[in-house]
Amino acid sequence: MKRSIIKLENVWKTYKMGDVEVNALQGLNLNINEGEFVAIMGPSGSGKSTAVNMIGCLDVPTKGKITLEQHDISKLSESELAQIRGRKIGFIFQQFNLIPTMTALENVMLPMIFQGLNEEKRTERAIKLLELVELGDRINHKPTELSGGQQQRVAIARALANNPEVVIADEPTGNLDSKTGTNVLDFLQKLHKKENKTIVMVTHDANLSRVAERIEFLKDGIIVKSLDNER
């Protein structure tokens, strides 16, 4: 039996939009095991991003319990969550979210700075990671000097900076054409298979979700269907 790494139990998230309360999550239950590749699918407004923010410790639930490696994180402060994010979670966003004034190398080193790694060690590791995503010859380029696919590969390298246990990818190919999208997806798969990383990917593209081992369908803030992919 595989060890559970993140568990969401009866998780609610309520946003206030003026006088109206919107329930983005309505009692979500979800378990992700170590080393799993899980895809979360659903129409827009179904709560996918909110769910993935909870998994990635970017947000805390209004109600319910989130357990990360046997620790309840739903009541932690923002700074405590930041520490967990820095060490255990790696994010890949649809918008790449690189810092435009920094070079590829500096972007990849950024998470290591907040963990207090010294300059020599983090430079060495960042270069290694950029070589892993085949950007060894682009380390001193700024994001604007890179193509979309290259930017997303820098983001993948950054997500791996502190050797996290979970990589969260929120529509990682949403801003890429299908060819470069496939390329990025290949990297994610390589991470999963070779490095045995736990990967949670949000997508609305059924084709992409095929690379996952399990697909969770979300609608109106709860899981409506769960599907194990056959290989």
């Binding site: 970017l58 947000d59 930041a82 520490q83 994010r85 810092i99 004034t101 700075i113 907040f114």
Partner: protein, 404 residues
């Protein structure tokens, strides 16, 4: 980690050059004013202390002042030769000497000008005067007891063409229509009043200007330096009795060099505090400029803050990053300000020396002032960046990431 935050800040500041410059202007004007003022003020104090050392701590100065009574009747009751005699009798005094000042027409060949003329007494009194006023001969000789119509002149007459030509030893000049021979030239003091004065024997001055009795200033040398205050009181008491005036209604002043120069210092302090007040206002405005720039920066970089938080930056990291950035904006502005400030005080010194001709105004430089000003401007920047930085630190990561 701190080192990295400084690097972030420098990169951001250089990335937004125009805005950084504009923001820094506010700070550097204030810092330049403060540094310039402190530099000149300290320099002036040092110069005054030097003067003080020259005069010596064992001296007292007695001058006449306006008497009391209804307006119009408070004419100055001048000091006289008798007053000097009375003062010499006060116990605890080694010697006393007086001098007279006159402003007079001075002629050399066809050239006419008006210059201060000071009397030089005889014997021991001359020595006391020379010591107190640092009358050092550079060329020629000092006045002698036997001199009648001889004069020694300030260096100004030799260096500048105050009377049409540069004067030399043995030149003949006319003071108040009487012929005098120049026998000596005094060393430069940097005080234009002194360097452009002419000194003649006391008896001759009394005769030429028809001043048989008056003395403008009496200088007293105490036998013992330690009881200057007591000696000053004794002189005041005895002179009051001699001149027959009531206590606290004295028609004369007895001042120690400290008091004499202290009153200079008081005026300077007032001027300095007013100007520093104005500089403080400009620093406040500069600080508000920094706060404004930082608020804009926080809004512009909301997404960046979200990214940093998503990769593990804690609130305190974001706080530090922004405080260091605003502090550095202040410090860089301060650096320019310090340079301009020292430049300003140096040029004031230059103008004072070469145009006005005084040595009393000199720029003072110290590393304490330099680094103090830098640290202070960093602090101003950090202080005014505190609120924007707190706003940045308190952003929710999810909302910050969503910001477009």
């Amino acid at each position: 980690m701190l080192k990295d935050y400084f690097k972030f800040a420098l990169s951001t500041i250089s990335h937004r050059k125009l805005r950084s410059w504009l923001t820094m202007i506010g700070i550097f004007i204030g810092i330049a004013a403060v540094v310039g003022l402190i530099s000149l003020g300290q320099g002036f104090k040092q110069a005054i202390n030097k003067e003080f050392e020259k005069i010596g701590v064992d001296k007292l100065f007695i001058t006449a002042k306006g008497g009391f009574g209804p307006p119009g009747t408070n004419a100055v009751v001048k000091l006289t030769k008798d007053d000097l005699k009375a003062i010499k009798k006060v116990s605890g005094i080694e010697n006393a000497a007086g001098f007279i000042l006159a402003n007079s027409k001075v002629e050399f060949e066809d050239e006419v000008g008006f210059f201060p003329i000071q009397s030089i007494p005889k014997g021991e009194e001359r020595r006391l005067l020379a010591e107190t006023q640092s009358l050092e001969i550079q060329e020629g000789r000092n006045l002698r007891d036997s001199d009648g119509f001889s004069a020694i002149i300030g260096i100004g007459f030799v260096e500048k063409e105050l009377l049409g030509r540069n004067l030399r030893l043995r030149n003949k000049i006319k003071i108040n229509d009487k012929d005098f021979t120049i026998v000596g030239v005094l060393e430069k003091t940097g005080d234009p009043g002194r360097d452009n004065s002419i000194f003649i024997p006391e008896d001759t001055l009394r005769e030429v200007f028809n001043e048989p009795d008056k003395i403008d200033t009496i200088m007293v040398k105490a036998a013992n330096v330690e009881n200057m205050q007591i000696i000053a009181e004794k002189v005041t008491n005895d002179l009051r009795r001699f001149r027959n005036v009531k206590k606290d209604e004295e028609d004369f002043d007895v001042q120690t060099p400290e008091q004499l120069l202290g009153s200079f210092g008081d005026i300077l302090n007032i001027v300095q505090s007013v100007l520093i007040g104005i500089a403080a206002i400009s620093l406040l405005v500069g600080g508000i400029g920094i706060a404004n720039t930082m608020y804009t920066a926080v809004i512009e970089r909301t997404k960046e803050i979200g990214i940093m938080k998503s990769v593990g930056a804690q609130n305190k990291d974001i706080l530090l990053i922004f405080i260091i950035e605003s502090g550095l904006l202040g410090a860089l502005g301060g650096l320019i300000g310090v340079v301009i400030g020292f430049g300003l005080s140096k040029s004031v010194e230059f103008i004072a020396k070469n145009v006005i001709g005084t040595n009393l105004i000199e720029a003072y430089f110290s590393y304490t002032l330099f680094f103090g000003a830098l640290l202070f401007s960093f602090f101003i920047g950090a202080l005014f960046g505190l609120m924007p930085a707190r706003q940045a630190a308190s952003l929710q990561p999810v909302e910050a990431l969503r910001f477009k």
